[in-house]
Symmetry: C2
Subunit: 257 residues, 2 copies
């Protein structure tokens, strides 16, 4: 039998592909995984769309997927995942364990914030360097994020900064906080990576009707979105901008007000 990992895309279950939907409908058992992304997915809506019972995985079941892998010996199993499966390393661990036990795995891809954010920004995809995740590290400042942005900027490259937004644990960094963290690091490190007048892009709820895109000077953008608690959201620190990229930013550029 087969273990299917099926992506739901970036805006709830309606981002699942036709192929993904039909596959899930035909499976003997369907699990829903919601731990690798801050997307909210409504279990009732999923069950209604699939016309069958769907069980939500606990974090523990996801990280120790032995039971599900064993079930896949006898049954066709689907795990619905946020975004594009496999981008979360947890998913690839499941693939590895399954393959080791001779179980066939098939992945049905869907939209990922990775490419969606790059596309929505209007910046050129081949001008992005290494991406990073800004996570809560207690009192420890995220030097590695700062250094990655520096390294990309030296090459004229853009940096996609994913934000830790773990709804369950409440470890959430909103984009205005992310900008603040990076500006504070700049004050301390002073390497010219990210100053108040440098450009930043924020992309919130890409794929949803209340999607919000803003580009502008860091300090303006930060002030504009303060207290908005944007989630899910990412930020982009641009490197050198091509004139067509500048044109694109104009479509969602903000000034102080």
């Amino acid at each position: 039998m087969t273990l299917y990992l099926i992506g739901m895309g970036i805006s709830g279950i309606r981002g699942i592909s036709i192929e993904g939907l039909e596959t899930a409908k035909a499976c003997d058992k369907v699990y829903l995984e919601t731990y690798t992304s801050p997307l909210e997915v409504d279990l009732n809506e999923v069950e209604k769309l699939l016309g069958k019972k769907v069980r939500k995985l606990s974090r523990e079941e996801l990280e120790n997927a032995d039971k599900i892998i064993n079930e896949s010996k006898e049954l066709n199993i689907a795990i619905l995942t946020p975004g594009d499966p496999l981008i979360a390393t947890t998913h690839f661990s499941i693939v590895l364990d399954a393959v080791k036990r001779g179980i066939q795995v098939k992945v049905i891809h869907s939209a990922s914030i990775h490419s969606a954010a790059i596309g929505e920004s209007g910046l050129h995809a081949y001008k992005f360097g290494k991406m990073v995740t800004l996570a809560k590290l207690g009192d420890y400042p995220p030097f590695s994020v700062y250094e990655t942005i520096l390294d990309n900027k030296k090459r004229g490259l853009h940096t996609l900064v994913l934000l830790q937004q773990d709804l369950e644990s409440g470890e959430i960094i909103y984009p205005d906080e992310a900008i603040k963290i990076l500006l504070n690091l700049e004050k301390e490190q002073n390497k010219g990576v990210f100053k108040e007048n440098d450009i930043v892009i924020i992309l919130s709820r890409v794929g949803y009707d209340d999607c919000l895109k803003l580009a502008g000077k860091a300090v303006f953008v930060m002030n504009r979105i303060k207290r908005l608690k944007l989630c899910p959201a990412v930020i982009i620190i641009p490197g050198e901008l091509h004139f067509t990229e500048r044109e694109a930013l104009k479509t969602y550029w903000i000034e102080e007000r």
Copy 2:
């Protein structure tokens, strides 16, 4: 009215999302764009799924989208695109022109080879550097591709190499040719970027039932896929490998035979 750009994902029309399908069905007019990717999309299958007439755009209509943009003033228009819309710069030009004329644009995202290839490889997404496209340049060797791989490798980062695979013009680079081109450049430049015993990953037809993934020494992989004319396909040149990444590569590793 609204101009919708709707992604079809990476394996024909069945990669479209539920939201994308419903939106396209409700639009007054639907266009199909197939020029920004080597995916084959069957117009009849698209029309059958949507239950309506769909018109294939010529390359000229895509690049000078005035007519379609004007239509969007009066009608809800959908353009179905391969992959995730906006990753091709042509798509963002359409958005720019439309926004300038006060037309509302909405993008419905879908799978992109960008994230799908990274996921399928089992390599960690945040360890990829700048990506590149290897294109036919006549007799001129692709120095910039070579230099990008060098730059990524110096920092331990992986490189996703997209291949020019333009079915219409016949300008196609198959993955075995791509490996050969890079090995030849290495012989000439001798900077230790990509040698016969270095690891390469090829990913062909990701999302299709005949998907082929191979990892191994460059010379073995090249010989194994010679004359297979794999399309669409991408290659990945890994940088430093984490042990979990090595584990992942083992699931599709090949040796000489």
